[in-house]
Symmetry: C2
Subunit: 779 residues, 2 copies
């Protein structure tokens, strides 16, 4: 068969797979069913956005807040790849810039900045079998992804692959050419820097096992274990483990497997090791489809198997064992789930690309935090403190330093029930481990980034009216981190200085002291608000006072926040630009003094006064944008564009900047995110900014307005929390809509608000029914 014929055959197999899985029929049916003129919302999601330019998203199949995800893994094993996970700091299983795929990883992180998970590499190959990932990899062609499904062709083998998911399981279909075909599960490689796996056969076609994961952000002790169950749809003619053997010196003359991969085709007890896996081999007919079911758990092998049964047994039963039919049904479930989730926000108008970047952002911010508990309710408690059992959803992947700023506020608005369960999960973590989370990952506190972010997220949730959790426990937990001495304080290790001096001085060259303190000030302001809400007025006053301590850092000479030394003097020398390219910077974490100097969201007015009033404040803030000191990829300054609107006459700057930033940094392409999505934080910024409002002060149930991108957006509100049940956002443009980026008037619930007022409370927003903007071409 020549190359062209081979390509044709591959394409045929790809189509055959699509047909077998009922994809075409399914799509057509749905198109008629819903509205022939409307593209489905899932069609408006491009999961490849963010898969280049360090967006660190992946195109893998996943459900909203689902535990399981299946992503192609193409960041290891070949020098043909542009990016290799081991040759740099690298934090995603998939790069649109790479060529060489060694499998499909099960359970992945989306949009994070450190390598973790991305293991259980499932692969299919043909011909003579090799377990060596440096040899068996393949380029991917004809990649296609939508919410809940990923499809591709493994070009080297002409194998079509398609995966779909449930909450904790996946089903992958491989369509083989005629001849010898293999299904591999590689437990040696993963994005995680931990290694070591064990697995065993349950029967001829079912495996269970587990692998060590952890060391997130190179934190050596945040360790956990991923369990799995795997089942192939047909009994193989040969199956067996492999294991990379250690090198031998003299003995290599008697052992041909020394320093290479050894196959164990007869042995059937457990296999353990650093670089182990299992293969199933078949004699395939042309176009034969083999299916692989995978279930995961972070509790036990038994639970992984039980999850597989709980989420797939009925589908297979209803399909009478027809895997193609089961796949179609599972995919249909997945797509429907996403349609429902995305459908909470219905946008009308705008360009197709604008709709795509909007819905893709909504998609990306609905991935984390994700559920952790098994179908039986079991989950790993914090810090390895045992196995818990939960009634509500137990969430994990709390990248809170990022997400407290906008992801959780947005979840409060769109999915308050989920946000409520996330808060309950955080309080359960406090019960189990003694502390609220900072950066929790699969039951481990990774202590990544700084501050006391859970406190802020919880207060913010309560302030927005989502209050179905134990406020006494919440308050106890919050107060613990705010008042415990530094040595015993997991969350605020600088508390001694902070409490005695009112600020955190620089003790070591790069101890991020100012960043720490700025987070504590905001946290204390949130704690104050929460105390006030609970009637604890004395505490409220105390924490409120502490929250203004940022003023210690204000340096008149620069008009900026500047690191302090233990004696209260300012650090010398001082370069406000230092840190812009992630180079180490005294006092500031992942940023420059510019990126942090306006980060006092709870006291913008006070900061403005310090700086000499509105003009000085606005000038300095504007100069940050004009001089290129604004970092659109990192959290401390992402609310900066909205701060102008504290001054009615300056609000036009917010409107102009948000449109400019959207246009400059977001697009419908693999490099369509400005940098790490940060577990949905960048995406949430985009969703808010395109909708026309932004929660610039976490913990304050209010928003700054900006000009919406779409002429009409309908948000379905959860009536259990928001009786109004709906929020419609409309715009009227005085001329060419694309040029009308300035707000002239705002109508809330049909009533025009005060001229120049560009802030709105959460209650107004969710209660008004309609938010209307008159837009114009000039400020």
């Amino acid at each position: 068969m020549n190359h062209r014929q081979s390509q044709t055959m591959t394409l045929l197999r790809y189509c055959l797979l699509a047909l077998s899985l009922g994809l075409v029929a399914h799509d057509a049916a749905r198109a008629q069913e819903i509205n022939i003129s409307t593209r489905k919302l899932t069609d408006k999601v491009n999961p490849f956005i963010g898969t280049a330019n360090y967006g660190t998203t992946n195109p893998g199949a996943v459900l909203p807040h689902g535990l399981m995800s299946v992503s192609p893994f193409n960041v290891s094993g070949s020098t043909e790849n542009r990016f290799d996970k081991d040759a740099r700091w690298w934090s995603t299983p998939y790069s649109a810039d790479n060529e060489y795929c060694i499998g499909f990883s099960h359970v992945n992180l989306s949009g994070v900045g450190c390598p973790e998970l991305g293991g259980l590499l499932l692969m299919a190959t043909t011909g003579k079998f090799t377990p060596d990932y440096r040899l068996y990899g393949s380029p991917l062609t004809q990649e296609y992804a939508r919410p809940g499904e990923y499809r591709t062709v493994l070009e080297r083998y002409g194998i079509a692959a398609a995966s779909t998911v449930t909450l904790r399981t996946s089903l992958t279909a491989f369509t083989f050419p005629a001849g010898e075909g293999h299904i591999l599960l590689n437990l040696g490689q993963a994005l995680s820097n931990e290694s070591g796996a064990t697995l065993h056969f349950v029967n001829d076609s079912t495996m269970v096992g587990s692998r060590l994961m952890g060391s997130f952000c190179y934190n050596p002790q945040a360790i956990f274990r991923q369990y799995f169950a795997m089942r192939v749809s047909r009994r193989p003619h040969t199956a067996g483990y492999w294991k990379k053997q250690p090198p031998m010196t003299v003995e290599a003359q008697w052992d041909a497997t020394a320093d290479s991969y050894k196959l164990y085709d007869r042995y059937r007890q457990e296999m353990s090791g650093d670089d182990v896996g299992v293969r199933f081999s078949y004699r395939c007919e042309e176009g034969e489809i083999l299916y692989v079911q995978m279930g995961v758990s972070f509790v036990s092998e038994a639970n992984a198997l039980q999850n597989l049964e709980a989420e797939q047994a009925d589908l297979l039963k209803e399909s009478r064992g027809d895997y193609a039919q089961a796949y179609t049904a599972m995919l249909s479930q997945a797509v429907d789930t996403w349609e429902k989730a995305l459908g909470v926000v219905q946008v009308e108008g705008g360009t197709q690309n604008e709709q795509t970047i909007f819905y893709t952002a909504l998609y990306h911010m609905l991935i984390h935090p994700n559920i952790l508990q098994d179908s039986n309710g079991e989950y790993p408690m914090m810090g390895g403190s045992g196995i818990g059992r939960t009634e509500h959803d137990r969430y994990t992947v709390f990248s809170l330093w990022d997400t407290y700023r906008n992801v959780h506020p947005l979840l409060c608005l769109l999915f308050p029930d989920k946000q409520e369960q996330m808060v309950r999960s955080m309080l359960d973590m406090y019960h189990e481990g003694g502390w609220l989370p900072r950066w929790e990952l699969y039951g481990q506190e990774t202590l990544t980034m700084e501050g006391d972010p859970a406190l802020i997220a919880i207060n913010d949730t309560w302030q927005r009216g989502v209050r179905g959790f134990d406020t006494d426990v919440a308050y106890e937990a919050m107060k613990k981190s705010a008042t415990t001495a530094g040595a015993d304080n997991l969350i605020r290790p600088d508390n001694d200085d902070y409490l005695s001096l009112g600020f955190v001085p620089l003790h070591e060259a790069y101890d991020n002291s100012v960043s720490h303190a700025l987070e504590y000030y905001l946290a204390d302001w949130n704690l104050s608000e929460f105390a006030r809400a609970l009637g604890r007025h004395e505490d409220a006053a105390l924490f409120r006072k502490r929250s203004f301590g940022y003023r210690h850092y204000y340096n008149k000479e620069y008009g900026m926040l500047r690191p302090l030394l233990p004696d209260g003097s300012f650090l010398m020398p001082f370069d406000p630009k230092l840190g812009e390219n992630f180079e180490p910077n005294p006092g500031f974490h992942e940023g420059s003094a510019y990126n942090y100097s306006f980060f006092v969201p709870h006291d913008v007015a006070g900061l403005s006064r310090l700086m000499g009033g509105r003009k000085a404040f606005v000038d300095r803030l504007q100069r940050i944008f004009d001089d290129g000191h604004y970092d659109p990829t990192n959290e401390p300054d992402i609310a900066y564009p909205y701060l102008f609107s504290y001054f009615p006459d300056e609000a036009w700057r917010t409107q102009k900047l948000t449109r400019e930033l959207i246009d400059r940094h977001f697009c419908n392409a693999v490099d369509g995110l400005p940098g790490n999505d940060d577990a949905g934080t960048m995406s949430a910024w985009l969703v808010y900014s395109m909708l026309g409002f932004y929660p610039d002060c976490p913990g304050s149930p209010s928003y700054t307005l900006t000009s919406p991108v779409f002429p009409k957006v309908t948000i379905r509100l959860d009536r259990r929390y928001y009786p109004q049940g709906q929020l419609v956002i409309t715009t009227t443009s005085q001329s060419d809509a694309a040029k009308c980026i300035y707000i002239k008037d705002v109508h809330v619930g049909g009533r025009k608000i005060t001229q120049g007022r560009r802030r709105i409370s959460h209650d107004e927003l969710v209660g008004c029914g309609e938010l209307h903007f008159d837009l114009g071409v000039r400020p």
Copy 2:
């Protein structure tokens, strides 16, 4: 503390340990109890014999045919050692020539020629903890071993260590100096060339886990798994896993553990990997003793734990949790068990060294085969065919090419009940795996060496009157290997040539063809005898005829057996000395043509006729000894000294030679075995030869006599098999006993046998009550 003080303290700790464990008191008590004038039999065993000069025994604690053994492991981790397991072919965990011990290995092979098992390395250290075996090892001093116990001092740490065992478990006591002390279980290193382990905490002081073992004799697919349970006597202040991390390139700048050992002190789920382990750390008082219980299983972690409970829980209960008392009780059990086993043969007279080498040989030949089943009767069936449950003892470690020659015949005489259960175990293997074993190791057929040895051992057992097994099944199994075509024949792969030509021709340079065929001839003769006994006379005639096919190989030119080519011509060139130093030799396995040319034990008369009669036969045989072509370390020729006695006038040569060989090759020293003990075969040769009789033709219930070493030996016979119940062997010497090495007369049951007859049947031996030799100084 200066060095001298330190030594004194260490000695004190050693004595303290001895006192704590009641060793001194215990010994004294027993000495009074038994007979103050008689040394105990266990005191006549020197477990260090064979621990140098490639004897490959070890001084570890073990019970007769026990599964568990605990040996010091000093063959890895340091260039200070003379022998390193990875720098050569090396098959024992312990060398008397080495210095650097990295732990005590649990379950070891004794006297074998290939590396296997010798893992689960238990160690104790002090000071700053390191899991690196290249750093933490220690020299051993004050080593002491007796059947059932091994004691030493880890010199570097001043830690006294002592281990004793039950059938499937061990108890090790470590006496620490004051300060930080650690107990380590290293699962990375082992004598086995397989690797990969998994383990987890059951609670703060109990672990279970397993490790891959196998590739015995570099056979890549004979793989099995060793499970264990471990319990420490006191809760540690710190405990945790370690794991050797893979190397990193760029990422090493963020991960200090790259390419080194990482400690996991908080993580508590499973740990898996190539090089993993666990440590328990304590703040010890001076002289504090910590105990470690270990249980093993080859079925499951649960069974390992259950074995520990079954064999130690009562001891600890009776000791009210006093570990020192439990240790003493367990040791007392172990020593008593050995006293009973060794006491089956009571020797009187001879030198102390003669008694020591005799009882040590008896000790060594009672180690393998050993039991495999757990306390609940479960065991791993052949070839990984599942978990079986047995009512009788299930034995493993069948090094049958070695042991059919004398170990099993000697077990028939001394422990017929055990031998019967060994035969039943072999028949169960046939049921499970389809074949009788050749070299079975922990449920795996390793296919080491050649021939059809189980068949011989089973017929031999039956012929000696030990018949408690299913002879129909046995015959079916035997006939299967004798008659199945080569391609389907696991045991006799050369069967096609053998059946069609009557011999196995040389196809490849080093295919050991003559060795294979010689084993088949003897096997077929045994099968013929067995068939005859079962009344299958037609089969008997057929196999008898086949057994004489060795004549094909007889080459008149050399008067020797010589390799044949497929066309029936002799191999050219031919060097009968080739192979003497284990160099590859066409046609012969581990030996020269000299070592094999007289290996026709079932037709010595026929071979003699071929060679031209008695004189030619005797001359050639004598020349082998005179010219140094006799190999005392390998099986094919070890019966040679006895062949002279087929001719009454030449029997003096047997008597002379056996005494010379005993004197030359066996002594009470670490190099006191001539080479690999071969699972007790060399030791069994010594036991027989010192007793005065030898079963030179396996399958023939008869013995050749030689002059006994001891004036009086009393063998207690099992009356269920041998109603006479006792065999007393006595000698009278005409002058200086040491010089009286020639038999003048033999009395069987008080009746002098025919002058010059130097063979005796098994029935005569076990039925006569007394065997008396008149010995003289001249032939």
